[in-house]
């Protein structure tokens, strides 16, 4: 490491002219670097791109209408015409699996976005302010956390009614405590940090210090949480529809498809449940793998 005395003689670079542009291109280069450096991260981003593509253009390119029944073709095993076979009503499982991507992604992304925003807000204020506000918010979160989360989601959807929107709300509510706790902890350890005090001395108001100095530093660990939560949210939504809550047949959705296929497993028609289950698993797997990569991208300390 260069000491302070020999620093002036270190390789002299011309000072960068346009500073914001330099930072931005640095971020892009850093993203590419992270992807190149870690093949697993690159793979997970590739898979993520595939799921996004399925969600966006899937319904227009699948070979069959996911809702069209054909009793002559019921329960056919996978073949060239039907890659994932057909179900009990003769519907093409492959088309249904691909079309379902959009709904499952929308549910998880919307739920996570909601809980991210609400949880961050609660957690940041509670961690920065401390005192009675913190205590009250913590007790509130304790009560949500006192329910087994999936069970609470069941209760909420049962009470609010069977709809996709209610699945999103329920999933968001059970995830809020994770963000709130995480942000609270991250904010709390930085509340007295030197750079926080320095920011105040530099003339930043409390709100500015919190929003522009402390909160961005909590982002790297939150990215891991976001990515894990996207996975959980999909699992949660699929689990709810598996037990008959939320999405209703004949809408293609991975959880329902597994539930419908479950009855045929014991008689050997495995493809009905296995392919949607596999897709569900792959989606969750992708989100879980992406976490570390996302953190590396948003963390400037990983830049060398």
């Amino acid at each position: 490491m260069a000491t302070v005395l020999d620093a002036p003689t270190a390789s002299a670079q011309p000072p960068k002219m346009a500073q914001p542009a330099a930072v931005k291109s640095g971020a892009l280069a850093h993203t590419l670097y992270v992807l190149r450096e870690n093949p697993v991260t690159a793979l997970s981003f590739g898979m993520f791109a595939f799921f996004i593509a399925s969600a966006v253009i899937g319904p227009y390119v699948v070979p069959y209408d996911p809702l069209a029944t054909n009793s002559a073709m019921s329960l056919k095993p996978p073949s060239l015409a039907h890659w994932f076979g057909t179900d009990n009503l003769g519907r093409d499982v492959f088309s249904r699996v691909i079309v379902a991507t959009r709904l499952d992604l929308i549910i998880s992304v919307a739920a996570v976005a909601l809980s991210f925003v609400i949880g961050s807000f609660i957690g940041a204020i509670s961690g920065y302010r401390g005192g009675w506000l913190d205590t009250v918010m913590n007790r509130g979160l304790d009560i949500i956390m006192a329910f087994p989360l999936f069970v609470l989601a069941m209760g909420i959807v049962a009470a609010l009614g069977n709809s996709v929107a209610n699945i999103i709300y329920a999933t968001a509510i059970i995830n809020i405590p994770f963000y709130a706790r995480l942000v609270r902890a991250e904010v709390n350890i930085r509340r007295e940090a030197g750079f926080t005090q320095a920011a105040k001395i530099a003339g930043n108001s409390d709100a500015r210090v919190l929003a522009f100095h402390i909160f961005p530093n909590a982002l790297p660990p939150m990215m891991v949480q976001v990515s894990l939560n996207l996975g959980w949210a999909i699992l949660n939504a699929a689990g709810l529809s598996f037990i008959g809550l939320g999405v209703r047949p004949p809408t293609p959705e991975w959880g329902i498809m597994v539930a419908e296929g479950a009855n045929y497993i014991v008689s050997g028609e495995w493809w009905l449940a296995v392919f949607p289950g596999l897709w569900l698993m792959l989606a969750v797997f992708t989100f879980n793998l992406m976490g570390d990569g996302l953190r590396d991208i948003v963390d400037p300390r990983r830049r060398t």
């Binding site: 007790r139 509130g140 304790d142 009560i143 956390m145 006192a146 329910f147 087994p148 989360l149 999936f150 069970v151 609470l152 989601a153 069941m154 209760g155 909420i156 049962a158 009470a159 609010l160 009614g161 894990l228 996975g231 699992l235 699929a238 689990g239 598996f242 037990i243 008959g244 809550l245 959880g255 597994v258 539930a259 296929g261 479950a262 497993i265 014991v266 008689s267 050997g268 495995w270 449940a273 296995v274 289950g277 569900l280 698993m281 792959l282 969750v284 797997f285 879980n288 793998l289």
Partner: protein, 341 residues
């Protein structure tokens, strides 16, 4: 130490507001029902007059605070209302089905601890070897597996293809007679009765659902064990112990492992939350007659009293489990409640 016992009492007292909150939320969930519960209860052939009668009978015409007090009063008597589907008291049905769920959950949890904790320790002590890789794969795959899907795949492989497992229908094959009810745990009751055939039969039924649940809970426990073991092994006190010439077993267990166990115990709370939720799905897949499948049946029948009773029971169970975990924690961490961490 006086501070310790005060802290423990404080922890128990902390559960009180949480329980109150849980009761309030389940009350709100009951009242937020879509549609009119009175219409539901009055049945299909109801006239406006009979619906009104039901409304008065259920106390739904009273103001909310009063309704809440009545609700709390009923709870205090262990009254969770009547199931529409079966006509029996919800509390009674839940009580009779609870042991089935608990037996499954506890066996699964013990199973996953037995595998996950040594796996995490091995992965931490042999960082970068195949054990570590195996741990990483299991951990990432484990959290990605939808429990209901794992259960189905296991059924397909071990029941349909291999024929090793009995048919996935309930706790005991119909050729066996239920053991006399003492604890409600078939494994314990059968052992108490000395009926080893039934015991084996019950175990066979239990294995697949227990493995399904265990696979799901393996990941968080193994990951936490590995992480906390790694940080304990690189801690200064382990270096001190090594520098004093202590043997590797003593360094590993007395110094590193006991400290690493603390965050793992804390994680168990979260794991319980997952496992109680996943229970519902696994019970449905294996037609397991626990409270989870009861709730699923109730959902299908729009039997709201049963669903809310289930949610409340699960929450209270979880609060108690968390309390037990924290009290267990206080026995291994002398710093509990002193604020020194």
């Amino acid at each position: 130490m006086a501070g310790r016992s005060a802290a423990i009492i404080g922890r128990i007292a902390q559960a009180v507001p949480v329980i109150i909150g849980v009761v309030v939320i389940s009350f709100i969930l009951t009242r937020a029902l879509p549609g009119d519960p009175a219409v539901q209860f009055a049945g299909l052939a109801a006239t406006p007059e009979s619906i009104e009668q039901v409304r008065v009978k259920l106390g739904l015409d009273k103001p909310m605070p009063e309704q809440f007090l009545i609700y709390v009063g009923q709870l205090a008597h262990g009254d969770l209302g009547q199931s529409i589907a079966t006509g029996r008291p919800v509390a009674e049905e839940l009580a009779s089905r609870l042991p089935a769920s608990l037996e499954l959950t506890l066996v699964a949890l013990v199973l996953s601890c037995i595998i996950a904790i040594p796996l995490g320790v091995l992965a931490a002590t042999r960082q970068g070897t195949w054990v570590d890789q195996l741990c990483r794969i299991l951990v990432t795959a484990g959290v990605s597996l939808p429990t209901f899907f794992t259960g189905l795949v296991l059924i397909y492989v071990f029941y349909y293809l291999l024929g090793w497992a009995p048919s996935p229908l309930g706790r005991l094959d119909f050729v066996f007679i239920e053991p006399d009810r003492v604890t409600g745990f078939y494994l314990i009751d059968a052992a108490l009765a000395g009926d080893w055939e039934t015991w084996t039969g019950a175990l066979k039924q239990l294995i697949l659902p227990a493995i399904t649940l265990a696979l799901f809970t393996l990941a968080p426990i193994a990951r936490m064990t590995r992480a906390s073991m790694l940080s304990a092994l690189s801690a200064d006190y382990v270096r001190t112990a090594k520098a004093a010439g202590l043997g590797s077993r003593q360094v590993l267990f007395t110094y590193a492992f006991r400290n690493a166990l603390l965050p793992v115990v804390t994680t168990l709370g979260m794991v319980f939350s997952f496992v109680l939720g996943a229970n519902v799905l696994v019970e449905k897949v294996f037609a397991w007659p626990g409270i989870g499948s009861y709730a699923v049946e109730a959902l299908v029948a729009s039997d709201y009293a049963a669903v809310q009773g289930f949610v409340l029971t699960m929450a209270l169970l979880f609060v108690v489990l968390n309390l037990i975990i924290d009290l267990a924690y206080s026995t291994i961490d002398p710093r509990f409640g002193t604020g020194a961490r």
